[in-house]
Symmetry: C2
Subunit: 193 residues, 2 copies
DNA sequence: ACTGATGTTAGTACCAACTACTAAATGAGG
DNA sequence: CCTCATTTAGTAGTTGGTACTAACATCAGT
């Protein structure tokens, strides 16, 4: 076994550790067929924290993600809003949002952005989507910054009509017409949101 | 400080540890104003693993979640499929899918289930949603098992028409008519998915 | 007030997976 | 062959525990 040279080993080490943070120095020393001390020197030079810190980091990241997701309650970040009138949100297409083979955004994320924006723009305790007419006009891709605009066209009784357009660099990728049901009661059981 | 009684303390301990898994025995012993040994006895009785195991568990859970999410590529689990004809999927409404205040499912998850099912039922390398007409007929709630059925009505050239109905205990919660674009090329840039 | 059960605390030895440090062995290049 | 970089070995100390033994505290019932 012509073990790797220092530089090469360190590059591979970085990769190994980032793909599987659960590896002990001992396991790594077996993988690379060097002593534990060498692995430790490598980690020191590369500023790779020890196993426990790596695991803690992963765990922290994820509990934070969960928190921010449940806090967010919206896909995309709202950048401008006038209640019962209009709202804008930004959604950046990330790795989890696309088909792996062609990096095209899955339609339901664009729908989710639009749908969330409709819920947000209505200034009532309960707002649920009753129906929608939607169209995907062009493909958006990984890394795209999608700006979605919701405009409230009509509000009467308990129904609002909202049109949404989503664009990437001015080009329309999605448009829809949403019919929303709303009420000032905080719970209700006949429609969906 | 009239420290808690054993039973009470153990209940609070369970809660504490599950909301914040990052607490050491030492910190916990300070919180409850008992000795470290007492905390350790409590953990032993309640089968609460040690700090490191708890952290590891959180980290593992999350890396698995990420993997299964990217593997899944579908919201809901497909339970029956005949390509280019029909498909069924099951989606169980969990905590992250509902509005916190009233536990009603966010519409875009039901849309996502339907949309994913449409993508899955088409036996071509690329299938993207072109447009959809959807309706949310009743609210579904936390814990509901949503069965979605997609039926391919028509396929010609590069367009398929699929109708989807989603039910909870036979009762219709969602229906939609999806127009899908499909092709045997693996990449394409004019439509959305 | 005495006894026994239950609960709490103290203390020891040991473990994994390290850090930080010193020192020796090995290797490869000029 | 010498030298500098690299690798390995070994020791002491750390964190956050387990596992175990033993002592002490508290209260309940008789």
């Amino acid at each position: 076994m012509a073990r790797y040279k220092k530089k090469e080993r360190q590059e591979l080490l970085l990769e190994k550790v980032s793909t599987d943070p659960f590896l002990t120095d001992e396991k790594l020393s077996e993988v690379f067929e060097v002593s534990i001390q060498t692995i430790r020197l490598d980690r020191l030079e590369l500023n790779i924290p020890e196993l426990r810190e790596r695991i803690k980091h992963v765990a922290r990241e994820e509990t934070e993600k969960i928190r921010s997701l449940s806090l967010q309650e919206v896909i995309g970040e709202i950048i401008d809003i006038e209640l019962n009138d209009h709202a804008l949100s930004l959604f950046i297409v990330e790795d989890g949002h696309v088909f792996q083979k062609n990096k095209i955004t899955r339609g339901h994320y664009l729908f989710a952005q639009a749908n969330s924006l409709c819920v947000a723009v209505i200034d009532e305790p309960l707002a649920l989507t009753k129906s929608a007419d939607i169209e995907f006009t062009r493909a958006s891709k990984l890394g795209d910054k999608v700006i979605s605009k919701a405009v409230v066209e009509k509000m009467d009784g308990h129904t609002a009509i909202i049109t949404v357009t989503s664009r990437v660099e001015q080009k329309l990728v999605f448009k829809g017409r949403f019919e929303m049901y709303y009420t000032d009661e905080t719970d209700e059981g006949e429609k969906n949101g």
